[in-house]
C-alpha cells in the first residue's frame, strides 16, 4: 500500500482534513457509551489490518505535514526538545526502535542498512539519506532523540526509571494537549500527573506506575486518551496559549461540525534496552466532528459520552465554553439505537 502524503497546515489557514478512506481507521477512543478514567492499558499487539494498531509506529497520510509543523515549532522554541545529560543512551535506544520498526513495517518508505555500528538510513517521504555511527552522537547533526523525533509522528517523552519511579528526563514535545515539557522536565510520575482530577483518588496512577515499572522489553503496551481541540491545531501548548485559547470563543452551532475536533492520543509504552528507560510516544489523531459523525455508531456514542461527561472532566479538558452547544449539536445523530461494543465502526 502506498500512502499519498497530504500537503496541509495545522495553523493559519488550517487546511488539515482526513480523506474519506482515512476516517474509518481513526482510533475512536470510546469502547462504551460512557467514559471515565481507568487504567486502560492493553498489550500493543498488531491488531486489525489497516487500523492504527497494525504497526509499531503508525504512518498515515499526515506524516509529512506533521513533520513540517514540528520543524516550525522547534525553530520558534528550542525548549520543546530537551534531554538531561544522562539520557543520551536512551536517545539512541529510541532512534534504533523507530528505525528498525519503520524499515520492517514500511519497506517501501524507509530503509535501514547496518554494517556493525555503521548505519545507513533512508527516509524516502522526508528525503533523508544519512550514514552515521550508532552510539556516537558526533556523527549526527543533533541529539539522537531530536534526530529521530523529527522523523516520527507524535510527541515523545523518555522516562528514566530509578527509585521505584519514572522521571521525565527527556522529550520532544511539539503537539501537546496543554502541558509543558519545560515545566515537567525532571518531574516524577505523580508530580507531572498532579493536575489531573479524580484519577488519583481512583488509584489509577498508583496502578499504572506499578505496571510500567515492570514493563518487559519486547512487550509494549498502549492506551487511548482524548480531548477536544478547536481547529486542527497540533501545537496547543501552554506556551502558545494566547494563539489558541481564544479559538474556543469562535465556536457556534453553525460552525461546530468543522471547527471542533476530536483529538485522540494513541499512547504507547516501550521498555528501552540499553538505558532501561521507558519511551512514551503520544501519537495524536485529529478528526472534525463532521468527519466523526459519518460513522453512525460514533455519532450516537459521542453524543452519549459528551452528554454524561463528569463536570470535573469537562473543566479539566477545557471544554466548558462550548460543551452545551456540542451536546445539542450531537443529539441530532443519536436516534437512541443501541451501539455495538468496541471502538471500531460497524
Amino acid at each position: 500500500m502506498t500512502i499519498q502524503f497530504k500537503d496541509e497546515s495545522f495553523r493559519g489557514d488550517f487546511t488539515y482534513a482526513n480523506s474519506p478512506s482515512n476516517i474509518p481507521r481513526f482510533p475512536f477512543p470510546f469502547p462504551e457509551d460512557e467514559y471515565m478514567y481507568s487504567t486502560n492499558i492493553e498489550p500493543h499487539h498488531a491488531a486489525r489490518a489497516g487500523s492504527p494498531f497494525e504497526n509499531a509506529f503508525d504512518v498515515d497520510e499526515h506524516y509529512v505535514a506533521e513533520m513540517k509543523d514540528r520543524a516550525l515549532v522547534l525553530a520558534d522554541d528550542p525548549g520543546r526538545c530537551q534531554a538531561l545529560p544522562h539520557m543520551e543512551t536512551a536517545g539512541w535506544d529510541f532512534l534504533e526502535l523507530v528505525m528498525v520498526s519503520k524499515a520492517r513495517d514500511y519497506p517501501d518508505l524507509f530503509k535501514l542498512t547496518m554494517d556493525g555500528d555503521r548505519w545507513h538510513w533512508i527516509n524516502k517521504p522526508l528525503q533523508i539519506d544519512d550514514t552515521f555511527t550508532f552510539g556516537d552522537s558526533s556523527t549526527l547533526p543533533c541529539h539522537p532523540m531530536e534526530y529521530i523525533g523529527r522523523q516520527v509522528q507524535g510527541d515523545h517523552a523518555i522516562l528514566d526509571q530509578r527509585d521505584g519511579n519514572l522521571w521525565m528526563d527527556a522529550g520532544i514535545i511539539t503537539a501537546q494537549a496543554d502541558w509543558s515539557l519545560d515545566f515537567d522536565i525532571g518531574m516524577n510520575f505523580f508530580e507531572w500527573h498532579a493536575p489531573v482530577p479524580l484519577a488519583h483518588e481512583l488509584g489509577v496512577f498508583q496502578r499504572a506506575l506499578k505496571f510500567l515499572l515492570t514493563l518487559p522489553q519486547g512487550q509494549p503496551s498502549r492506551r487511548l486518551n482524548w480531548t477536544l481541540t478547536v481547529n486542527p491545531r497540533l501545537d496547543t501548548s501552554p506556551e502558545n496559549y494566547p494563539k489558541w485559547g481564544p479559538d474556543r470563543m469562535t465556536v457556534t452551532p453553525e460552525n461546530i461540525g468543522e471547527k471542533v475536533h476530536l483529538r485522540v492520543e494513541l499512547q504507547t509504552f516501550w521498555r528501552l534496552p540499553r538505558s532501561n528507560a521507558i519511551l512514551f510516544p503520544i501519537r495524536t489523531y485529529l478528526m472534525a466532528m463532521n468527519e466523526v459523525v459519518t460513522q453512525p455508531k460514533w455519532g450516537r456514542r459521542l453524543h452519549r459520552v459528551m452528554r454524561d461527561l463528569r463536570p470535573e472532566l469537562v473543566d479539566y479538558k477545557g471544554l466548558s465554553r462550548y460543551h452545551p452547544i456540542l451536546v445539542e449539536w450531537l443529539s441530532q445523530f443519536d436516534d437512541g439505537a443501541p451501539t455495538s461494543p468496541g471502538i471500531f465502526p460497524d
Binding site: 481507568s38 487504567t39 492493553e42 544522562h86 527509585d163 496502578r207 505496571f211 515492570t214 522489553q217
Partner: protein
Amino acid sequence: MSASDHLIPVVVSNVVEVNPIIKRFEFKHVNGDELPAFSGGAHIVVEMLDDGTKRKNPYSLMSSPFERDQYAISVRRDDTGRGGSKFMHEQVRPGMQMKISAPVNLFALDLRARKHLMIAGGIGITPFIAQMAQADKLGVPFELHYAARSVSQAAYMDSLADRFGDHVSCYCDDQGESVDLETLLSNQPLGTHVYVCGPKGMIERVVQTATSLGWPAAHVHFEHFLAPPVGEPFEVHLAKAGIDITVGAEQSLLEAVEASGTPINCMCRGGACGQCETVVVACDGEIMHNDHWLDEEQRAAKQRIMPCVSRFRGKRLELDL
C-alpha cells in the same frame, strides 16, 4: 498471548567450568540473529525442561551489553535447591536448544551517578561484570570490591583484575581479607552510587552502613538472588461453565481459563488494569494475590481474584465464570 510466546529460542554455544562450583553458559540465537540489547544488571529467565518438570530461574547476564551475538551467564551449583542449578550443571551441554526470556533489569546503574561503587559477594559478581563493561564504555568512573570465600571459588577475580586494573579490589575470606565498609563508604565523592549483590548478610551490612553514614536511600542499590515463587498446580471450579479445570505449574489461572474456552476479560495480563477481576464464589484455602489491583481489605475478604497473576492453594476454589 502468554509470557512463553515471548521466549527466545537459543542454542548453548559453550559451557565452561570456571571452578568446582561455577559454570559459565553461553547462548546464541538459534537462527544466528542478534539477541536483544540490554543494560548492565539485567537478568534473563532460563527455561529448563528437566525430565517432565519445567523450571524457570533468573540469571544475571555477565556478557558485555554491547555484544549481541551471544549472551553469557554463570551459575553457581546449589545442591539444596529445587534442582535448577543442578540441572544446568549436570544436563546442559553445548549444542542443546533452550528458551530464555528477554532481558529484564531490576538492578540498573543510575545513569546520573558521578561514580559507581560496586560491592560483590560470591556469585553476586555476575551483574557487575556487565555493568563494568557499560560504565567503562560510557566513561563513568567505577570501582569494584569483590569478596569471595576462598581463592579457589573466586570466579573471574584474576581476569577482572587484569582487565580493569586499579578499578578492582579483591578480598578472599581464606586469606583473612575483608572489605572495610566504614572506610570505603566514608570516602566517596559526592554523587557516588553504591550497588551491592551477594549473600543476604552482606547486602544488609552495606545498606546499614551506608544508611548510618547518611547516604541517601536513592543512592544505595541492591539485588538479592532470591528464588521467585514458583507456581504449584491447582484445581478450580468454574461455576457458570460448570467445569473443573487444572492450572498447571507454568500456567496462569487466566491462561487455564482461556484454554478451557470460557470467556474472560483481560487487558494488561500483569495485575494492573483490573479487567480480569473475577468474583470468587467459594474459597476453602489461600489465594496468593500477586496483583497490584486489589487493596488489603479486598484481599483479606477472598471474594475477588485477579486470574492473570494470582494463584490458589487449598481445598476448593470456585469462580463466577
